[in-house]
């Protein structure tokens, strides 16, 4: 009998509708995208950029091609050469191209980079009608890097690529030479 009534009055349907209608009174969880944007965590893997050293604005990238080797989709191409910089012959990247149409945003290049010259930013809005503009060249990558410096630094910290502060900068390897340093106590190894 009860079952019959259930059948006749679509009780389970009504229960469902009740639940559905109850959501009229729940706060919206959707964002009106172009006008509202979500806040992204520091870890977000967006467009790649190239970084410079803070103190003297020199390019970090030495053109070691390790990112090219690490890239699973083969979208990076680095051409390196030598140049004279304050009396030393140094290696630098003459061309640094990332084919964003091929990039899979895995972040392996950032992990590979031995000088932390590469980082990812929160930039994700770069769709275009012109495919060719999706090949980011060196100038473009530095432009993103200069523009979104804070995000890039945040990314490196969030992905354990760099300490919170550059506390280790005294030992830290930099191209072309170590920074001249005072003798420092042997640091403890953490393994």
């Amino acid at each position: 009998m009860k079952k019959f009534f259930h059948n006749v009055f679509f009780r389970e349907i009504l229960k469902g509708l009740k639940l559905t209608f109850s959501h009229y009174f729940v706060k919206d969880i959707t964002l009106q995208y172009p006008h509202e944007k979500t806040s992204l965590p520091d870890t977000f893997r967006g467009a790649l950029c190239l970084l410079r050293y803070d103190e003297n604005e020199t390019e970090r990238c030495v053109g070691c091609d390790l990112c090219e080797a690490a890239c699973p989709s083969g979208c990076i191409s680095v051409v390196s050469a030598e140049k004279l910089e304050s009396g030393d012959v140094v290696r630098y990247a003459t061309d640094f191209d990332i084919d964003i149409t091929k990039c899979v945003f895995c972040g392996f290049c950032v992990e590979a980079c031995p000088v932390n010259a590469l980082a990812m930013t929160k930039s994700y809005e770069y769709s275009t009608n012109n495919k060719r503009s999706l090949i980011f060249d060196k100038a473009k990558l530095y432009e993103i890097g200069d523009h979104r410096h804070v995000e890039a630094k945040g990314y490196l910290v969030a992905h354990d690529q760099e300490g919170e502060e550059e506390t280790v900068s005294e030992y830290r390897y930099r191209f072309p030479y170590y920074q001249k340093q005072e003798p420092v106590p042997e640091p403890e190894k953490s393994t």
């Binding site: 870890t43 893997r45 080797a69 945003f105 972040g107 392996f108 969030a158 992905h159």
Partner: protein, 408 residues
């Protein structure tokens, strides 16, 4: 939808009834049909509304991932596994790194096992939520879709917090994971789990007694346990037929044997049972995650095997040996010993296995992906035979197929 008519000349003169012309109808379903979850095409032979034969046509999304694997190093292949079952990348990563670790014969620290288990179960919940939403949508219940995607979105935000991407995660690494949990991640996850049981109840409210749902799922696509085993089905599709085969229990990995949980089993082997199992599994997953979070041990999250796991970045800047390992690993990859292994992992769709043949190089010599979706498609004709044309959609859904994995 293209309709082809193949008139079959059947001169029926058995009795004196007026000649009844019988036709078999060939129906091309897909590959652009919205219900096919991607680009699956099925050539259905119909007799009236009844399915006589259905032949899945695969390969619209074939990308040659197995061939690709032969030309990249073991580590470089991880982002490519993201794109197999693209809605549940974490489990693909997990299955792959487990296979490579078996090949290398290395173990990971305890904390890593727990981290991996938690994330894998979160991924399982995401997978099932995704399945539930789309399956209900296919059948006609739209609201469920909004509800499940709302919750899925919360979990995907967690993934973004964890590794920086929603779908293409690449978080698992050979010998560990890319990044440790943050406190924020643990807090958010715990918060989510508190209300998750209620949410499952909400879905149940919408579906469990819904007569349309029942009519479309009960006694549809029934398969017996023996047949399911012979077809190599796995996951909820197999357990729906009452076969107790869950790799997490059969050959425990991760932290699964350190937590309490049960394997829900179906009885009839129909679509409804499989739905019920997935709902139960979500509850079990939530249970597993809660226990894991409670037990979460401290320690490193990467194995200390320099020849396989890249050194911490800070050391690369300062140590010669770390610098060398960094370069060796990223240019040549680690050399796996000669041999071949198969390692199956229980993904939410079923058994996702990797068969790797190594010739002692930094790249796999042959890598075969045993994709559950592909194996399930082998049973499609068998399971769809005799049902109505409208049920075809339900039957696609019941496997939870993703063509990225099926076509590879």
């Amino acid at each position: 939808m293209a309709v082809e008519v193949t008139p079959e000349e059947k001169p029926k003169e058995e009795n004196s009834l007026p000649l009844l012309r019988k036709e078999e109808l060939l129906l091309n379903l897909g590959p652009q049909h919205p219900s096919t979850h991607g680009v699956l095409k099925v050539i259905v032979t119909l007799e009236g509304e009844k399915v006589v034969k259905s032949e899945p046509v695969l390969g619209f999304l074939h990308r040659g991932v197995e061939k690709l694997a032969e030309s990249v190093t073991y580590n470089q292949f991880i982002p490519h596994t993201d794109r197999l079952d693209y809605v549940c990348a974490m489990y693909n990563n997990f299955a792959y790194v487990r296979a490579v670790e078996k090949l290398l014969d290395i173990t990971v620290p305890w904390r890593t096992e727990y981290l991996r288990t938690i994330v894998a179960e979160v991924q399982r919940i995401i997978g099932h939520l995704f399945w539930l939403g789309t399956q209900a949508l296919d059948i006609g219940a739209m609201t469920v879709f909004f509800f499940t995607f709302r919750d899925r979105e919360d979990l995907l935000d967690l993934f973004t917090e964890l590794c920086g991407a929603r779908l293409t995660t690449s978080w698992y690494r050979v010998g560990g994971v890319e990044r440790d949990f943050t406190q924020k991640f643990v807090d958010d996850l715990s918060k989510f789990l508190v209300t998750f049981d209620e949410k499952i109840d909400e879905y149940d409210t919408l579906l469990i007694n819904n007569r349309i749902w029942l009519a479309r799922t009960k006694n549809i696509a029934v398969i017996s346990g023996e047949d399911a085993v012979a077809f190599g089905l796995s996951g909820p599709t197999l357990r729906g037929s009452g076969v107790d085969y869950d790799l997490r229990k059969v050959s425990p990995y991760g932290a699964y044997d350190h937590v309490e949980w049960t394997v829900p089993l179906g009885t009839k082997g129909d679509t409804y049972d499989r739905y019920w199992i997935r709902m139960e599994e979500m509850k079990e997953s939530a249970k597993i995650i809660k226990q894991c979070l409670a037990q979460l041990p401290s320690g490193p999250f990467k194995a200390d095997i320099p020849q396989v796991v890249a050194p911490p970045k800070e050391q690369v800047f300062t140590d010669m040996d770390s610098m060398i390992y960094q370069f060796k690993l990223y240019t040549q990859g680690f050399k796996a010993p000669k041999g071949d292994i198969y390692c199956g992992t229980e993904a939410h769709k079923g058994e996702l296995g990797f068969y790797i043949v190594s010739q002692g190089e930094g790249k796999p010599y042959r890598l075969k992906i045993r994709a559950p979706s592909f194996v399930h498609m082998g049973a499609f004709d068998f399971m769809a035979k005799g049902y109505m044309i409208a049920d075809i959609i339900t039957i696609f859904g019941t496997y939870d197929i993703v063509m990225g994995e099926c076509d590879r």
